[in-house]
């Protein structure tokens, strides 16, 4: 959803209405980048984030176009408006970055992550764990008489909730992918027409 402050004439590059920049609330934003899949690109992005002290909740990277060697990086970060704008501008400055998109601003978007959750339990707790698994539409992908490994997919809150419920049942380990996010609707990503799924 475009922000209510974004009247068409105010939206030129770099323009962020003052009222928004002065808002001291902390918001969570999902930012997606398309980058050249070259050695060191992840180090560049993560080094920038740590070097400038930004708060990153999740960062995922994977190749999305083999022919053109493009990768996509999804970053979930939180900060004030001014900080979020800085994060995007700084990322945009990296030479191998093709495009930076603020999925939260451009909304609506969907974000998912996958978690593998290992729970060691016996007796009643096993039944309880399986019931929870069913409610969350998780899958059992490994089991022994003393343990399960669940696979659960969803947004971050759902996965957090699942893990919280598993904790008293004997949670021993979790492995999460971090989020993959994408905008709803038909529009593709790259504004220069080089959408990763259009042949060049």
């Amino acid at each position: 959803m475009p922000h209510p402050d974004d009247t068409p004439q105010s939206l030129y590059e770099g323009m962020v209405p003052l009222a928004r920049l002065k808002d001291r609330h902390v918001y969570r934003h999902v930012i997606a980048l398309v980058v050249d899949n070259e050695t060191g690109v992840l180090a560049r992005v993560s080094g920038l984030v740590s070097g400038r002290g930004y708060n990153i909740e999740s960062l995922t990277v994977a190749e999305i176009d083999k022919d053109r060697q493009l990768s996509r990086i999804n970053i979930a970060t939180s900060g004030t408006r001014q900080v979020i704008e800085q994060v995007k501008a700084q990322l945009g400055r990296l030479v191998p970055v093709h495009e930076v998109r603020d999925l939260t601003d451009e909304g609506p978007c969907v974000a998912r992550e996958l978690a593998l959750v290992k729970v060691a339990c016996t007796g009643d707790k096993r039944a309880e764990a399986l019931k929870t698994c069913e409610i969350f539409r998780a899958n059992v992908i490994d089991t022994t008489p003393q343990s399960f490994v669940f696979e659960v997919v969803g947004d971050t809150d759902k996965i957090d909730a699942f893990i919280d419920l598993m904790r008293p049942l004997g949670l021993v380990e979790t492995s999460r992918t971090g989020i993959a996010a994408i905008a709803r609707g038909p529009a593709g990503f790259l504004s220069d027409g080089l959408s990763p799924n259009t042949p060049s």
């Binding site: 030129y12 962020v16 003052l18 180090a43």
Partner: protein, 597 residues
């Protein structure tokens, strides 16, 4: 590229060449005339190729840090990309300070580093360092070239990235097997195609320009605040800035890095802004109703305490780097563009804007009042030379020779900024963002190499001068007739000043015991050396220094206790300046001063 070069490039496109030859050819096609460097095992093939040609001149420095600073001096004084060549491991790590300096001051540099052969990378080989890893945060971009076929393309791209947008240093790390291997040459691509992603926006958005001019036309207390971006943008930006100032009649101040873009001898010039800026510049920033920032980044030395920074103004910010906008100070009208193009657009729009404009007479009266404080006042009396006097006399005597002035870092740097009234751009070369002691001497050598006939002076503190003093040897070898003007106060003056103000005068390790005899030191290097301590002999000594051919070291013994004022102590606002230790009130109330305050 010239037509002839294009034909040559064409014909060579299919021939294999050694990696080292490819590197030299790429540099030639980029118009490189000088490389500042230092050899070592990993770059020997490149040095061998340098030996076989005579189109590119190599300046052998005495420390790799100095190679980068010299390239910075070359770049600042010419507007071209400075080029550096160093070996792997310690060669590359020694260059890191220079690269960081260039990043902070947006200086275009391409630094070629040697690397161990690809099959040894990661094995802790002799003189291996993870150069790409180490330099990632201190370069605009860096590359490791793993294939000789890629060498030419990567080097051309490196120059493109260093030069375009907000300039900066770029490292190209070249393993020895790559420079010894064989590959095909690729000529430089035209500007628009030079990089698949890196194409910074240079033209301003018309809406932004319209909004900016609308604010300018209404302003009652406007001020321009310009920075190094104007100078980096080049002669067009400098010309457009001057035209816009003439059209608007607005006052102007500038950062340390922006000095010279607007002539200091004009009435509209308020002097430098910031921690050691003038009273009138800082108060104008504080009290203005419109701040027009051009190629400046609201650095903390400039803004003082952000909470109290220019509280009542609307702000326009022109910058080619979108991340500079709204970083420290939020602005009303951002203009993401090359300064030159944006200023030209403002000139055109201002000429077309016909709305009645408020007069600025009241604002100028206020500024005249502030000027009446004579904030740079000092008194040269008694038998000891005041450092301000030494610098003021130096500039006065040298200015008709259109000098390039470099500095080190400390009090002398701030005094130089206050007392050298630059009237041209690219004449002032200093380390602003990083504040690197040891910058000035090699930077002066770089500027002198670029302008062999010009007068190039490094104004130095004795402590800073010692940080890269070995470069005197470079100056002698390459006949760079720089003048090293050492303001010797025996202290790390700026450190001593802070200790005096913040640490109860406990001068922990800021006094330099056992300073060398600078005259003998100069002579040991093969330079001329001179010394002056008598104010009456100062002018003549300066003239002697300027008239002595070849590199000269001139040591000026000055008052060791002088402090640099005005000063906005860190954490304070622009209207909370300290004007001087004891004089502000007392000295001011004399003669004309009385009428003004």
């Amino acid at each position: 590229m010239t037509a002839r070069a294009a034909v040559l490039a064409e014909s060579e496109a299919d021939t294999f060449m050694s990696g080292a030859r490819l590197i030299l050819k790429a540099l030639e096609d980029q118009g490189v005339e000088v490389v500042f460097g230092y050899p070592g095992g990993a770059v020997l093939p490149i040095y061998d190729e340098l030996f076989k040609q005579n189109r590119i001149r190599h300046i052998l420095v005495r420390h790799e840090q100095a190679a980068v600073h010299a390239a910075e001096g070359y770049a600042h004084s010419t507007g071209k990309v400075g080029c550096v060549l160093v070996t792997s491991g310690p060669g590359a790590t020694n260059a890191v300070t220079g690269l960081t300096d260039a990043l902070m001051d947006s200086t275009p540099i391409v630094c070629l580093t040697g690397q161990v052969p690809t099959h040894l990378i990661g094995n802790d080989a002799f003189q291996e360092a993870d150069t790409v890893g180490i330099t990632r945060p201190c370069t605009k971009h860096n590359y490791l070239v793993r294939d000789a076929d890629q060498l030419a393309r990567v080097i051309h791209e490196a120059f493109h990235v260093a030069r375009e947008g907000r300039p900066g240093p770029v490292v190209v790390d070249i393993p020895k097997d790559v420079s010894m291997g064989q590959g095909r040459y690729a000529p430089p691509l035209p500007r628009g195609a030079a990089h698949k992603t890196y194409r910074p926006r240079t033209a301003p958005d018309a809406r932004a320009v319209r909004e900016a001019v609308a604010l300018m036309a209404k302003a009652r207390r406007p001020v321009f605040y310009t920075g190094g971006g104007v100078i980096n943008s080049g002669a067009r930006a400098v010309a457009a800035l001057r035209e816009l100032l003439a059209l608007t009649g607005f006052p102007i101040t500038s950062t340390l890095m922006g000095l010279g873009a607007y002539p200091a001898d004009q009435d509209q010039w308020l002097g430098m802004v910031g921690m050691h800026g003038t009273y009138e510049a800082n108060l104008a920033m504080h009290d203005c109703d419109l701040l027009i920032a051009v190629g400046a980044r609201f650095d903390d030395r400039v803004t003082g305490n952000l909470a109290f920074f220019s509280p009542g103004s609307k702000k326009i910010h022109i910058d080619i780097d979108p991340s500079s906008i709204n970083k420290n100070v939020v602005v009303d009208v951002p203009v993401v563009a090359d300064c030159g193009q944006a200023l030209e657009a403002l000139v055109a729009a201002w000429k077309a804007e016909t709305a009645p404009r408020p007069g600025l007479a009241g604002w100028w009266r206020q500024i005249a009042d502030w000027r009446g404080r004579d904030c740079l006042y000092y008194e040269q009396k008694g038998p000891v030379i005041k450092p301000q006097y030494a610098i003021q006399r130096l500039f006065e005597i040298a200015k008709d020779r259109d000098p390039f002035i470099c500095t080190e870092v400390g009090q002398h740097q701030m005094w130089a900024a206050q007392f050298c009234g630059f009237t041209r751009a690219n004449r002032w070369i200093t380390s602003g963002g990083l504040g690197t002691m040891g910058f000035g001497l090699p930077a002066a050598i770089g500027a002198q190499i670029a302008h062999p006939g010009a007068l190039v002076i490094d104004i130095a503190g004795e402590a800073s001068a010692l940080m890269n003093i070995q470069e005197l040897s470079t100056a002698v070898q390459h006949k760079a007739a720089i003048k090293l003007f050492i303001i010797n106060n025996q202290y790390m003056g700026m450190v001593r000043q802070w200790q005096e103000m913040l640490h109860g005068g406990r001068y922990a390790h800021s006094y330099s015991e056992a300073l060398p005899d600078f005259v003998k030191l100069a002579e040991a290097f093969g330079c001329a050396g001179m010394r002056v301590s008598d104010p009456a002999r100062l002018d003549q000594t300066i003239r002697d220094m300027l008239d002595t051919p070849g590199p000269v070291v001139c040591e000026v013994a000055v008052d060791p206790r002088e402090n640099c004022f005005p000063m906005i102590p860190s954490g304070k606002a622009h209207n909370d300046m300290i004007l001087s230790a004891e004089d502000a009130a007392a000295k001011r109330i004399t003669g004309e001063g009385l009428a003004l305050v």
